[in-house]
């Protein structure tokens, strides 16, 4: 109990518990993970809300994210500045959304953000091509990529604007059988 007190106040821990899907232990572990990423930058004492952000390059190297083809996008979409600099709040937020407990709707929103490479609130063909190339390590021929992207849009596009809005995406993803089981990270 003693060392916990030094990192967060109880109030803070409670607030974090209310705002995330983590228990107090997990939050403390998250902090220690965050701290490990850059021991000289991140203070051990978070009681007075230090303003400290870690750059994308550091966070992406966590083993949980290291193999993920969308790691940069994940971190970017959770960072407030869009550049991938994460404060501890955002860091916790990221893993909370990706945790097992988070509901499908919440995950869908962030999945949409992650796959929206050019941040225009639509998944257009360009985004899909990028997604596909990351998923397959560019093993598909360009024609195949075009075919797949066109098919994907055709399948999910309900309003006929040739790109996927969030409504389209949500409609598609809520029916996907594996979405919940694959879109989560254990930490």
């Amino acid at each position: 109990m003693g060392n916990k007190q030094t990192i967060f106040t109880d109030e803070q821990l409670d607030a974090y518990q209310d705002c995330t899907f983590f228990t107090r232990k997990e939050i403390l572990r998250l902090h220690s993970r965050y701290h490990e990423l850059a021991p000289h930058l991140v203070p051990m004492d978070y009681t007075n809300d230090p303003d400290c952000k870690l750059p994308l390059a550091l966070i992406v190297n966590m083993p949980e994210l290291n193999e993920n083809p969308f790691r940069n996008r994940i971190v970017e979409s959770f960072s407030e500045d869009g550049m991938g600099n994460l404060s501890f709040n955002e860091f916790v937020d990221m893993f909370s959304v990706l945790s097992e407990m988070a509901p499908r709707e919440l995950k869908a929103i962030y999945a949409f953000k992650i796959y929206d490479f050019n941040v225009d609130n639509y998944l257009c063909k360009e985004d899909l091509v990028k997604t596909l190339n990351r998923l397959t390590k560019e093993e598909l021929t360009p024609e195949e990529v075009v075919l797949v992207c066109e098919k994907a849009i055709e399948e999910a596009d309900l309003d006929g604007d040739n790109k996927l809005s969030y409504a389209d995406f949500e409609n598609m993803i809520t029916r996907a059988p594996d979405f919940l089981s694959t879109f989560h990270i254990r930490i």
Partner: protein, 975 residues
Amino acid sequence: MPRKKDTDDINIEMDADESESDDGGNNKRTNNRRQGAGRGGARGRGRGKKPASEDEDEDDEDEAPKGRRGANKKKPVKKRGGRNAKDDDDSEDEAPKKGRKGAANKKKGGKAQDSDDDDSDAGKGKKGKRGGKKGGKDEEDSKGKKGDAKGKDKGKDKDNDNDKKKKKKKDDSSDSDSNTNSEEEESMSEGEMARLMEEVEEKKKLIATIRNKPWRMKRRLVHLKEAQEFVDKFEGALGKGKGRKWYAYKVMMKKKWIKFSRDFENFRTACIPWERKIKEVESHFGSSVASYFIFLRWMYGMNLVLFGFTFGLVVIPEVLMGLPYGSIPRKTVPRVDQHSAQDYSVLMDFQGYCKYSIMFYGYYNNQRTIGLLKFRLPLSYLMVGIGTFGYSLMVVIRTMAKNADVGGGDGDEGEFTFAWKMFTSWDYLIGNSETADNKYASITTSFKESIVDEQENQKDENIHLRRFLRVLANLMIVCSLGGSGYLIYFVVKRSQEFANRDDLSWYEKNELELIMSLLGLVCPPLFETIAELEDYHPRIALKWQLGRIFALFLGNLYTFLFALFDEVNNKLEQEGSIRNASLWAMKEYYANYTLFLNDSSLTPPPMPPADVIRGPCWETAVGIEFVKLTVSDIQVSYLTILIGDFARAVIVRFLNYCWCWDLEAGFPSYGEFDISGNVLGLVFNQGMIWMGAFYAPGLVGINVLRLLSSMYYQCWAVMATNVPHERVFKASKSNNFYMGLLLLILFLSLLPVVYTIMTLPPSFDCGPFSGKPKMFDVIMETIDLDLPAFLGTLFSYAANPGLIIPAVLLMVLAIYYLNSVSEAYQNANMELKKKMQMARDEEKNRRNNTDSTNQVMKDLEDLLPRGSLMAPPEPEKPPEPESRLTKTKPGSAGKGVNLQKDVALASPNPNARGPVNRSPGPRGAGPGQGPGRGQGPGPGRGQGPGPGRGQGPGRGQGPGGPGPGRGRGRGPPPR
């Protein structure tokens, strides 16, 4: 102000005391919280009164500019947790205070009624404090719940809150009823109270659901703080926050349960053997190759069960309780063979010691019961033989049914194949680079599979040419199958002729085998080449290929069985003469024995068991044939892999450095995994096992070893030496085609075994059934000797043809009935699928009704304006301009369109709207609704002309011009 502060002080202290006395077990945190809450409540009561409108203002503010306020708010809040927090009361910013005051005011109103007689500040404070405390406690509760619960708990929370709310309201109302006299002028109206309650509830809900909001953490924290404060302030005397521990317990159990089920799931998948191996193969070679390995694994499982039966009920009892080796003739190697019985070559041919071992039928004794347990070995032997088939049939059919249940269609996964693949196929849990590489490969493969499917769908070809080519290909294949069939028949006949002659050349001796292996070598590639003509999807092509090679191999089976039966017949004849001879010898012996010793007791001749004359024992011979065949099959297939794949891969890989052309990309290249050959090999091998298991119980054990080793060996070979197919294709979800082949083979192998059991007499001097005219007499014997007599008569009745024929009829009827039922279900399924598709189209249509995707609807729309032909019932002209008007609307009046869309979304069924529309008068909401409907025609027409027309008159009653109609159309929403 100072006075109020005093009361605050008092309140706090009292609160602290009470909280300690209440439940000291709670930790500091809760204390703090409670204090805060109590203080809040008390202070609120003591403070000023503001109109409720301010509250609302504050609320609105809450919603929007939270981020702004968050920064300075956090600190005060944090500090307030302390005991003497009242000091920074004044430092708090104004807005929340205001709100608090206002709300407190209301609360006070409520409370004032509560406190019936005394108006003293202290008393009130106490009460308020208590209320506040309870509030705080509740708050804690809900928080605790939230702390770990998932979305589900949210609902519960809400319910709880609602309950509380109700309770509170009831309290309030009853109180106010009983004491209406006190402080009327300060109290709030019921309505305001209710609104406040609602706000509190809302805030609570917000707290409960805040983790589900897609906000940034900072914003979430701020909102949380505000909501908590709000609730702390205004939560009055609510229901007791009972069961906090219970909740904690429940939450804990839930977490434990999740963890347990996850572990259990992991454990279960870990229990499935070779799952990872197969996944790995699948990720590189596609599901079609993996389907072979899955099939192999399934076979292994089935054979393991068969192995268990055979060894548990036949072999092990015999080993443990039967007579040992050398005790009787059938368990001893004959004297003639003893010198060579241990030679390697003899053992490899399964002669010598091998032949007289538990592996084969002949070794088993015909003693009715063996050992202390009186184990009925012959009966058990027969039962296991029949049970093997029974179990196999059952398992195969059950698996087929289950697969049909799961799979159904070939490859169509529904509407979002590609989209799902793209967005849900990456497993975010992967943290290992090797796994990640596999995942990349598997995703790529699965995309390729889907692309192949898709291309197949998109292919638009000359259908007549294709059909012609397919017919041609089938013709050619039928011709070649017929040709090879005749060739086999011819060769078998010739070999029968040759069998009687001695002057045979080497070729003539081995003609049959040569022809068979030649056919097996030439035909499959030939079929594959011919199949190119057909240009089927690879998955379907594989099925055809399998079917054709299967037909070819049936010839193999035919010749094999033919040869076997010849041999058996020969042996039977031979046995007959030996039996006569030995009987005669025995008779002589006994005659002499009684002659010389005058002793009629029958002592067997004092002959060592190795010297006894014995028959050929055709059952063991058959068993040896099957075992030999199986073993040579194993050797051949392993050698093929070693040479055909591994050596080739090594050569291609290393000779490539010093060769004139590119070996890897050019001619020899690496081998592809031969799915059809391997599957058929497995299926036919299983057929051999089924046929041979009765005569060689050890065969099942050999097969289990074979499958086990082949799993590892082939997995390694495929990963190390093969390349994926050019067109990686998805296997059909059910392995039912393989299963179908297996079932066919099972049936085919059932026939000869049952035939031999039922008709051929068992050998007189070997095996568990020796001495009986037929093998199944064992059952008769058991019925007669071991079961009560009435059961015997019962069985004899049951075997009566008069009973059997109706039973067969009944079964046929049942099959017919079930068949028609399943057909009906299939139809219903199709119907439902169609409906789903339609619903989806409809949805698409509705979302973009500017551009209807359904061509028919479009045409209808086109017809509409000049559609007097189409719709005779149209009474007036007005519809015409109107429809034109609705057509222009989308372009011109944005709001109109929006509204129109909304209406369409709200009530998609235009028919439902039609009738209401005709009588706007009776319904009170005339002005509001009428126009709203009036705008309807647009979407309505999208659905069909009927309703659109129906609305015509309704509009006619309206003011007429489009202007007013639209103007009023905007009215409804606020209402």
